[in-house]
Symmetry: C2
Subunit: 408 residues, 2 copies
């Protein structure tokens, strides 16, 4: 076991934000200012980029009321960054650490963020700079390994479930085919959450397409047609990450087929931009119109609202996000770990309860976790086992009520 | 003054739904079942279409708990319809009315719905069929004449304000240009609500484009560039109804410029589809990229969530929507009116309060109400006078909190 290290702590936020990522920040700050061995509590603006530049603020001076208010504000209060630092970048950050005697490094984010923490640990150890390196999990994608689920997912799942409930009602009012595109490039966890507000067999979404399965456009249009002919309407949940058998994004395949007409959708590397655009939904709506002719077909792309809408966070998610921030400090100062990632473990029992534990950085870094087969089904897209897993994380989604509809 | 008429009542819901339209339905049912002169309370499936077919349900048999639950469910519980009935259609509906001795006609919707109620009144009067015809207002567009505002708007405005608050935070985390497209084809009321959660000068949206003004693409890209160079980021709120000096939708102009590349966006009449597609946002993002080069530009189209998201309704809006449904019954059975539309009047005083009154159907039918000049400004898009008008309708939007950011 390592000795107790005395020094300052720094924290950064990285990757796509969530509505509860500041809960983790605040949980961290509240625990860190209490720790005797932590001499100062710094926040880096825009993650590793701020550490490299020495762009730090003194979080220890924030007052309690400000922190509690910031905890409920979506997106990274310190600013975020999308950057995979190379050796020279890490070296620059370590210069900042030396200047301020920073001995505790905390990084809130997903698998790439855990990877940065892992590299930081290796590089500081190699140069003999004594440092504790911890990863605090967050991602709406819910695709981290080891942990039962990721802080940030429950709130995004609740938003998506509510969005589909409302859209299903809208579509009952004015029937047609409605396609909604949900975030999650590599794993279908968030798209699958579209099912969490369903109660009856005719509640939407009626079809769910996830990146864990190969997307076959010709099967898709036939399945839409079948539902539409049966119910007179059809709600579809589609992951932005749907792809062909070779793993090529569907939109890329579609754009190549369409040729120059889609040129504007490609970036300078010739890749198709998936988020922050309505192109995928519009392409799928186009396929349905081609196949089914002149019926009402609409597409919405839920976009960044899924990770930033401030008025529908999950209370369970809020509490757990706060807890993983606090637990990272406890693990770092305990002397039991020199590094690690905080993970959640679901306890056995009839009511939902999670505890935390520390897992090695390399067990979380780099690779992501797809949905397991037991959560996937052919017909409805997802199984009851998935819904039992995911619903408690949202804090619950109330079912919609129909009129009884007594005949005249 | 008219005599008290004895007979059954029918109600329908029409046009694009809102999250509180069922509050009006339930307010109506609860009042109608109490009225001695109303012998039965029917609901027509999909508005006038259900009346023509005799597709009715007996709302008088719904139990109290069901009605209270349905009141909180978004979108039209009876189903909606987009239909401007012609003389023969109205005649068919009147056949249904005669069969069930229906003497009270209520129709929840916007200006087209008021127009249908007006035509119904004229046609029943011309044929000597004694009938009371009332319009109950709803629209997220807030574009009805006479009334201070429209039930449905407050909740949609709250959703849009929250969406921009969250997106502004997201954009601070990962800066760039972000364009969000908001519903409202003819009037900018809902897009203007994007400003309701702003607190500081650097809070987004930084630019707001409304259909009350001519949209000039070359001015738009310059204004985005100016904000971006000043703040390092830019959030834009755009109404789906932006148009050129001739009133032609911007997307139509853009599509004609782009030629066959945009062919897929046009319907069989050559018109560009505005809602249920991400095309407008993507086109605007394309313009910014053309002008500013390789910076991060994203677009989201909020879509049907604005009128259907179940978890963020305004409590003020809920109550008022309930009240206009109830008041329509009271007006109809009072003997003081043979027809009319229920309107809201804002009372003088420092705290927000609205009462209702009855206005003639023809004062609300057909034409819509744009935002007045006093609510529009060049720089920020909208004035403080607009925010003072709109904020109470949302029930309030809490400001976001920043870290104090003490320097190290």
């Amino acid at each position: 076991m390592s000795e107790i290290l005395k020094g300052a702590a720094v924290i950064g936020q990285s990757g796509g934000p969530t509505v509860v990522i500041n809960q983790s920040l605040v949980g961290f700050v509240q625990a860190a200012v209490q720790a005797d061995c932590i001499t100062a509590v710094y926040g880096a603006r825009h993650g590793i980029a701020g550490m490299m530049k020495g762009d730090l603020i003194d979080l220890g001076k924030e007052n309690h009321a400000t922190l509690e208010a910031v905890a409920n504000v979506p997106a990274a209060a310190l600013g975020s960054v999308r950057m995979k630092p190379v050796t020279e970048d890490i070296a620059k950050a370590i210069e900042t650490f030396k200047k301020h005697d920073i001995r505790y490094f905390f990084y809130i984010g997903g698998n790439d963020t855990a990877e940065t923490a892992h590299i930081m640990e290796q590089q500081t150890r190699a140069m003999g700079y004594d440092m504790r390196c911890f990863h605090i999990p967050k991602t709406i994608d819910n695709d981290l390994r080891v942990t039962d689920h990721c802080p940030g997912y429950g709130s995004a799942a609740k938003f998506v479930a509510h969005a589909f409930q409302g859209d299903d009602r809208d579509n009952r009012s004015l029937p047609g085919v409605k396609i909604n595109v949900v975030m999650g490039r590599h794993a279908g966890w968030l798209t699958a959450a579209a099912s969490l507000g369903r109660r009856n067999a005719d509640d939407g979404p009626h079809l769910i397409y996830l990146p864990e399965r190969t997307f076959q456009p010709e099967v898709f249009v036939k399945q839409v047609e079948e539902v539409y002919s049966r119910l007179g309407r059809c709600i579809v949940a589609v992951s932005e990450g749907i792809h062909d058998a070779d793993g090529k994004p569907f939109l890329q395949v579609y754009a190549e087929r369409a040729g120059s007409a889609m040129a504007g959708m490609k970036d300078s590397h010739g890749n198709v931009q998936l988020s922050g655009t309505g192109a995928l939904g519009d392409a799928l709506a186009g396929l349905v119109k081609e196949h089914m002719g002149d019926i009402r077909v609409r597409a919405d792309t839920f976009g960044y609202l899924q990770r930033s809408f401030p008025a529908d966070a999950s209370e369970v998610d809020r509490k757990e996000a706060r807890e993983v921030g606090r637990r990272a400090v406890e693990a770092a100062i305990s002397g039991a770990h020199t590094s690690g990632s905080i993970a959640l473990k679901r306890e056995e029992g009839s009511s939902y309860k999670c505890t935390t534990f520390v897992t090695p950085l390399e067990s979380v870094a780099k690779y992501t976790k797809d949905m397991p087969d037991e959560y996937l089904s052919g017909e409805e897209g997802v199984t009851q086992a998935f819904r039992d897993y995911a619903l408690p994380l949202t804090g619950g989604v109330s079912p919609m009520t129909d009129l009884e509809g007594h005949s005249v």
